[in-house]
Symmetry: C2
């Protein structure tokens, strides 16, 4: 331990390794990272414009702490607390969501200031009425684990870096009177539509002359989140005042309980030398926060902590080592990879304690880590397949195993959208089943599938979640009784398919068979006359009126989840051939796919903003579309997948703050890019194969399995050459349009020979098309 | 106003009239009450022992304030805060539930004390460790609107009385040092099983030298209840200290916000003269509480307030004027009537503001009152029929109309168990439909049935409440997916029947027809082989194993709600003849009824305590059994109803603290007694008739409709003469076993000639049996 700590300049080893890695892996990664310099390709500002909803601040891979500036707390585009169009900063808080469509977090805001104390944040229009500070983006910089900005009016220079469970600030104050830090524990995301951050119970306590500890019980998207912190200054404060509801406590008060709490720490000698502030977090208690802080940042060497963070990023980014490629593509790729490694986030303390889904504090088994913030509706599609392919299997085991732990501990059963010890229940379906089934199908070790099965079985056969009872009774969810019934039916059907795989892993063959049969329920909403998935009423009739671009049959509620019938009609990941037959066969299905991409992109006025990134009615900006371009592989026209995927790679992602077509969604938007850039995509993550697309780079070396290398090459590639001419696998000709997970993770060399003309014969043969449903059932 | 106020000695008129009554009605009632002296028959201690869960403190009919001693706050028998077996008093709080099976309320505890301040309540075993005080029941007295007790150790004498929205305390302190009042705003019901009263936001503020105001946002059974208060002393306090989490605020602090707040008011001269404390409540805000207090108790005349309360009780009790009867029967009867008039409770301020079910503050139309605390699963059966028969129709209109208002304002739609601005969702079904349908069937004015219809229709046809989706799809709720599925199916079927009547009132004939058809769904759970209602699985098979005394087919959950198959098998109030046919006809059904009352009363170990008051497997202590003794009327063996009802009247109610067979349930247990003692019972409240039973008293004059009199006489009656020989209605022979609501509320004279032998011919003819289903449909 001492050696390692010394080596890293005062940063404890645990800080770099939120998860258990093979001994030496972190250092090995650093070594390789130093060679590659992948961090220099990352631009954390990508996604901070438009509706990407990312944040630019400092964090380590999967870190608990995301120390980042908050520029806005109100409205949809403030979900991460930051938007590139803002020109004032409230301060720097320690937790942020990456790319979600709902706001929360923003815990423990630290505001460095000079002059008179302001307790109110002020407004973007009138920052001087509060503690906001103006800034120029020209004076702002971010690289992985490193954020810097100069506050314009005061001249304060702020630098932020982080370890897994702690944040470190370095402030350079100008010579000015009234230098102080404000710690605003009432700060949080505020939705003008009515969802105000509600705090029920908070505390602040001054310890000695350099430490402030506290915590809060907070209700926003996550109802009843618990967060504690321990903050230490690099030198004593000269005075400290506590506030409750913006009223100062009497002089000398050292602690306060209440709801809206703040603290001001006076730093009269601030300009003498940089002021460092380190903050440990814990969802357990203040002791946990202190322990996390002391374990991860025992000293005051800012540069060493920052270097350690960068090294950790190098190690992770280096798992996908691109050789060649143009600068813009590399920036998009490595920023995507950076974004893909931000969530789930670590949610256990250095001592192994964590806050469970029932809000109790529990102890992990030795060596395990607990995670939270799983945006499962999004991430089951490509982010988790990216992890299973290219992350350390032990980390994947921790991430997937955490879902089993949560299912056991949560009053709500299998996770839907777990956020920091709370279940938001956000979005539809219960896709933790898919992540678990995928892991089972790919033999990820360290997950107790048999223990998970009864809990997931219960949800499938007895669950009362919105529409599930009707789904079981009628075989579909009627749109006259349940909102978003079409999307729910289709996603429950896919979840059935997924947990059938889990049933199999647990030896429950009859259940597996019943669930596979039930996964065909999607057929009950297919209207052969219009060849669309359509809302249907309880008595069996199709809902009227029907407009495939519309949100549903009435204004009362939507029949689709962030989508319309065009997108929902292709929401089939598991039974593509069976589905195709309902259209009249591959040719008819292919024509419908063509139409999807070429029909007018008009949407009705009441369409949600999530339906974005339109190509025809294909909507890349939201997740239900993500597998669709790969469906041509199943019709035999694989070259159309190649062209479409390459086009999406080139048009839907830009090296620009507004470079994402929609919410980043905790890594899913980026994971689509990463998998597609590799030339691979898991149309159905539960079937352990990847469908080929159109690889973007000449060569990528991917670290797979326990450190083996998968090399993907694409000779002849180029902007005008998206088409696969032929493929070899480990030197042998390969005619299939897909490859198995088992093959890839053994390592090897996959070569796509590219050209500027389609090769319609590639993948045209029936035997070369990807398996779906039937084969997987065997 | 002045005249009235003078007349009543300083009590504002509004205090006596929480609801709008006919001009002069209150005074007329007082006059008659003074003649009858009905209050002297009321023993508020009945129900405070065993599992009655009543409280003995001071309140007015349907009053918002129930000022009563709290002796216990933990465990099932502390639901009202009081149990007769306790020997210590924590203090006197202002809100209490009458007879529920779940605890809550207990707002604004006032503790009169001498000696050192104690902030902790202490335990019953060691009261001296806290502020508890010992007392003897011999030194305790309660009559309607009047409670008195002497605290043993200190010698403090406490008297409590109340108006509709305010409580008045009178304390006589001994000559002792350290006299003070503790106001504990953290006090509440504490369930050792884990449901602790949680306070999220509370405030206390001292105003001048005689006033304390504040409020709290409290989460217990009701999640998010809001309550404010204004407390005034009859003379200034000498000092005051505020506490947060039992830590004193600095000297001179005048207000505090937090969660667990207390206040100590010093009264060094307390022994000089009685100390009066008056407390106004409001669910709206402190201003509302102050306004309520000033409007209802402007002065300090304790005796006048108490006399006014007694007069209000006399007026209400006098609506059912019993002539003759033995002392014990009178005590049971008038205590039952007293208990029947405690809930729903007033839930709007003197200025017409109230806290709606969405927690917003709203304004009532002029002259209206808002109510809350509707124990609908219980009270739809007999309490609301008692109201429709014997309460002022305008009050009934307010009580029923409040359900429509709540349905419109509540995020949860039609009320299930609304508690003080929150929806607890407690118990099963959604029986606000029954109360509304009953009112429609009986033409209660002042209720907007057409406005209610779409909201209730939504629940019926689209509701997602537990099991409703399956109920709609399968025609029953399967016990493999939903707990208590048998009881839910049967109660949803009855609710269908009820809202069909509402559909009719709104002119929705097709819906009415569909719902009546659907109300026959109960048939899908009747097993003709065993002739029991049985749990059934999704696929159609009966659940195994089956024991008609058991709680269900597995230990995972119960298939019945506080009942077993014996009781559930008779849970049919609306289609008795159709149901009878399934048994094989009236004779077979009658045999099954006989068996119910004569089979062994054994219950399995896991039976809930609610199944009580057993006669065979008939359980009078809980509501699902309440109509069953009257079902003999439908088989033609009415004399068996007469014998059974009389026996229940005589055995299930005693003039004793432990005199109730089960929870009082906000008046339902008593309402069964009252209706049955009159000789009438609404087996199906939605069909506007009453089935005869066995009248208990020689004569009762009931005030019905707009002040008309219904006289019920029973010549020849006596302990050994429960049998009806013949009946006359307004002097003419009457052969039916039932009479319509319309007839009774026109007033008249109903004479039952009683005898000691059954007259099997009475009610034997087909045409004389009560109508059910078919006729009501016409």
């Amino acid at each position: 331990m001492m050696t390692r700590r010394d080596l890293l300049g005062g940063v404890a080893a645990a800080a770099l390794m939120p998860v258990t890695l093979a001994p030496g892996a972190a250092l090995a990664g650093i070594a390789r990272g130093q060679g590659g310099g992948f961090c220099r390709h990352v631009d954390p500002f990508i996604g901070t414009g438009g509706h990407g909803h990312t944040y630019p601040g400092a964090t380590v891979p999967f870190g608990m702490v995301q120390l980042s500036p908050d520029t806005n707390t109100a409205g949809w585009d403030a979900c991460s607390g930051y938007h590139i169009q803002d020109s004032t900063i409230l301060g720097f808080s320690h937790t942020h969501l990456s790319g979600t469509g709902v706001g929360d977090m923003l815990d423990v805001l630290v505001v460095p200031r000079v002059g008179p104390v302001r307790l109110d944040p002020g407004t973007p229009e009138n920052p001087d009425e509060g503690y906001r500070a103006r800034f120029d983006h020209a004076e702002e910089r971010a690289t992985p684990g490193d954020y810097r900005v100069r506050l314009k009016d005061s001249g304060i220079e702020a630098e932020l870096t982080a370890t897994a469970r702690a944040g470190l600030h370095r402030y350079r104050f100008p010579a000015a009177t009234g230098a102080h830090l404000l710690i605003d524990l009432a700060h949080g995301y505020q939705d003008p539509a009515g969802s105000v951050t509600r705090i029920t119970g908070a505390s602040l306590r001054l310890v000695g002359d350099d430490t402030l500890v506290g915590g809060r019980h907070v209700h926003q998207w996550g109802q009843g989140r618990v967060i504690h912190f321990a903050l230490k200054l690099s030198r004593p404060f000269a005075g400290a005042r506590l506030y409750s509801n913006d009223r100062a406590l009497p002089e000398g008060a050292r602690e306060v309980e209440g709801a809206a709490l703040k603290c001001v720490l006076d730093l009269p000698d601030a300009a003498a030398a940089p002021v460092l502030v380190k903050v440990g977090l814990s969802a357990v208690d203040v002791d946990g926060a202190l322990r996390n802080l002391e374990a991860e940042i025992p000293g005051w060497d800012f540069d060493a902590v920052r270097a350690a963070g960068a090294a950790a990023w190098e190690a992770e980014l280096g798992r996908l080592a691109v050789r060649g490629g143009d600068a813009a593509d590399l920036k998009i790729f490595y920023t995507a990879l950076y974004h893909a490694l931000l969530a789930p986030t670590l949610f256990s303390d250095v001592d192994g304690r964590y806050r469970a889904m029932d809000s109790t504090v529990r102890q992990l088994p030795p060596g395990a880590n607990n995670y939270s913030t799983y945006s499962l509706w999004d991430t089951y599609r490509a982010l988790h397949p990216l992890f299973t392919l290219a992350q350390d299997p032990r980390r994947v085991g921790d991430v997937v195993g955490g879902l089993v732990r949560m299912a056991e501990e949560s009053p709500a059963g299998p996770p839907v959208w777990p956020l920091q010890g709370t279940e938001t229940g956000c979005m539809i379906g219960w896709h933790s089943a898919v992540v678990l089934a995928e892991a089972a199908a790919k033999n990820i070790p360290g997950v107790d599938y048999a223990r998970a099965w009864p809990i997931f079985r219960d949800r499938a056969f007895k669950g009362q979640t919105s529409g599930l009872p009707e789904y079981r009774c009628l075989g579909y969810i009627p749109s006259d009784t349940v909102e978003e019934a079409v999307s729910k039916t289709l996603e429950y059907a896919y979840d059935d398919w997924a947990i059938a795989r889990l049933a199999e892993a647990a030896g429950a063959r009859d259940d597996a068979q019943a669930l596979r049969q039930r996964s065909l329920n999607y057929r009950n909403l297919f209207d052969r006359d219009t060849t669309f998935m359509r809302p249907r009423f309880t008595e069996g009739a199709w809902a009227q009126p029907f407009d495939p671009r519309g949100m549903g049959h009435s204004r009362k509620w939507r029949d689709f989840t962030e989508s319309n019938a065009w997108q929902a009609t292709f929401l089939n990941q598991h039974d593509v051939y069976g589905y195709m037959d309902m259209f009249g066969g591959p040719a008819a299905f292919e024509r419908k796919l063509d139409e999807l991409f070429t029909t007018s992109s008009d949407l009705p006025d009441d369409a949600p903003p999530d339906i974005a990134g339109l190509v025809g009615q294909y909507a890349h900006g939201n997740e239900p579309s993500h597998h669709i371009a790969y469906l041509y592989a199943y019709t035999g026209a694989h070259h159309k997948t190649q062209a479409r995927v390459r086009s999406l790679l080139k048009t839907m992602y830009r090296a620009d703050p507004d470079g994402l077509a929609g919410n980043e969604d905790c890594g899913q938007m980026s994971a689509w890019y990463l998998m597609s850039a590799l030339g691979l995509y898991a149309v159905d993550p539960v079937t352990p194969i990847y469908v080929f697309g159109s690889p973007l780079f000449d060569r990528v070396d991917v670290t797979v399995g326990d450190g083996r290398t998968l090399t993907i090459e694409a000779p002849g590639n180029g902007p005008g050459s998206p088409y696969i001419q032929s493929v070899t696998w480990n030197g042998k000709p390969y005619t299939r349009t897909w490859i198995s997970h088992a093959d890839l993770t053994r390592g090897g060399r996959l070569v796509f020979v590219m050209g500027d003309k389609p090769n319609p014969r590639f993948g045209a043969g029936r035997d070369d098309r990807p398996p779906s449903f039937d084969m997987a059932r065997a």
